[in-house]
């Protein structure tokens, strides 16, 4: 079952509205048409060039399947600005300037229930997407540290989940401590279970495997595993371990012995943002993997921060998966 079919199977019969604030980008325009045809996502495209709606219309299954909106003249802008001004205690005039910016308008649409989720980042820096999400949508009530993960579709990989592998945290936490690393592992395990129905098998990665090296960086990963044990999480995890022990059964037998995830992990938790971001880009570069996400977790609604190198397949798959993520329903 490919990702489109899987996302369709996970979702209900009613298409979910996903807002794209970067409608000037041709990949987003193509993705909007492709997504409208799936019947699973109803794209809302903002900041589109003049005449885009007319150009897309012949390719859509019906006129309602995709909306092109102009956030600089949208009547909702004033209401969004009022809500934003009240929430952040800033002058209405400044809030209106913020609310007219496509990234913020899109995030306010999600915050106010006018869209299920947002897919942005193909033209914007990760920090801008994260700040807009934080300010307009807010943190999920009770959520631990916000984090992100990629879902990599790696040609030639033959895991229990086919070619897919979850990879975290490539976008948000530069130097997580042990407690934050445990939070990230827990959040991503819950997300892939909800999104794809996986049984999580989490490997906490390091350059050491079960004590083969000593270093403060290894201690953080080891402590994160202790933290997960103390918390009594119900998903399978193990660490610290090297990437080959996480993914290769022969190496896992040699280095780990009996491990609940060794050789068969489906979620790789990297020790810091450097490792996760570099690792994901290397996998993409050398294998031609499709990268869905990064999906942002810990916020009150589903958001994905695309890479600026995202392809059409990346955008379409990411949007389908954002549509399949549940709303947390509670903002802190």
């Amino acid at each position: 079952m490919d990702l489109v079919e899987r996302a369709r199977a996970q979702g209900g019969s009613v298409p979910r509205s996903i807002v794209f604030p970067e409608g000037t980008d041709p990949t987003i325009q193509e993705a909007a048409v492709a997504l409208a045809k799936t019947g699973r996502v109803r794209p809302i495209v903002l900041d589109a060039p003049a005449g885009l709606a007319g150009r897309l219309a012949p390719y859509l299954p019906d006129p309602e399947a995709c909306t092109v909106a102009d956030c600089s003249n949208d009547p909702r802008c004033r209401r969004y600005a009022e809500l934003y001004a009240a929430r952040h205690d800033i002058p209405q005039e400044a809030a209106e300037i913020i609310a007219r910016r496509p990234l913020y308008f899109a995030a306010m649409m999600v915050a106010e229930g006018d869209a299920h989720g947002m897919v942005a980042g193909i033209l914007s820096a990760t920090e801008d997407v994260i700040v807009a999400t934080h300010l307009a949508i807010g943190r999920e009530h009770g959520a631990a540290v916000p984090c992100s993960f990629y879902l990599l579709d790696i040609p030639g990989r033959e895991g229990d989940e086919g070619q897919l592998l979850a990879f975290t945290d490539p976008a948000m936490n530069p130097r997580p401590d042990a407690s934050e690393l445990a939070d990230i592992a827990t959040a991503v395990a819950a997300a892939v279970e909800a999104m794809l129905g996986w049984t999580p098998r989490v490997a906490l990665l390091s350059f050491s495997t079960h004590g083969s090296a000593d270093d403060p960086a290894v201690d953080v990963v080891r402590d994160a595993c202790d933290e997960l044990r103390t918390r009594g999480v119900t998903f399978a995890f193990d660490g610290e371990m090297q990437a080959d022990a996480a993914l290769d059964e022969r190496v896992a037998r040699r280095k780990l012995g009996d491990s609940p995830v060794g050789g068969d992990a489906n979620i790789l938790v990297c020790p810091n943002l450097d490792a996760a971001n570099i690792g994901a880009k290397l996998i993409q570069h050398f294998t031609g993997a499709t990268a869905y996400g990064p999906f942002l977790l810990g916020f009150a609604a589903p958001v994905s921060d695309l890479s600026r190198s995202a392809t059409l397949d990346d955008v379409v798959g990411t949007a389908l998966l954002v549509a399949s993520l549940p709303l947390s329903g509670h903002r802190s």
Binding site: I90, P91, A94, I97, I98, D128, V131, H134, L135
Partner: protein
């Protein structure tokens, strides 16, 4: 330029929620006033509202001091 200085200081003080008298041109936005990424979104919007400028997220991240910010605004007028 003096008018720009005064207005920028007033806006910076308001965003940082401090008295304008405590903000000088050499005051550092991040280190002294804790105006980091989130505060800079409001800062850009309030500057644009005041001066009729258009300041991108990228531009507003760069100034280190109030003087740098004044220079950014002056360059747009």
């Amino acid at each position: 330029m003096a008018e720009i200085d005064e207005e920028v200081i007033r806006i910076v003080a308001s965003v940082a929620k401090v008295d304008s008298a405590s903000v000088r041109l050499e005051t550092r936005l991040a280190e002294d006033l804790m105006i980091k990424s989130i505060g800079r979104i409001e800062l850009a919007a309030r500057i644009d509202a005041q001066f009729g400028t258009q300041t991108s997220n990228f531009e507003i991240r760069r100034p280190k001091t109030v003087q740098d910010l004044v220079g950014l605004v002056a360059g747009k007028l």
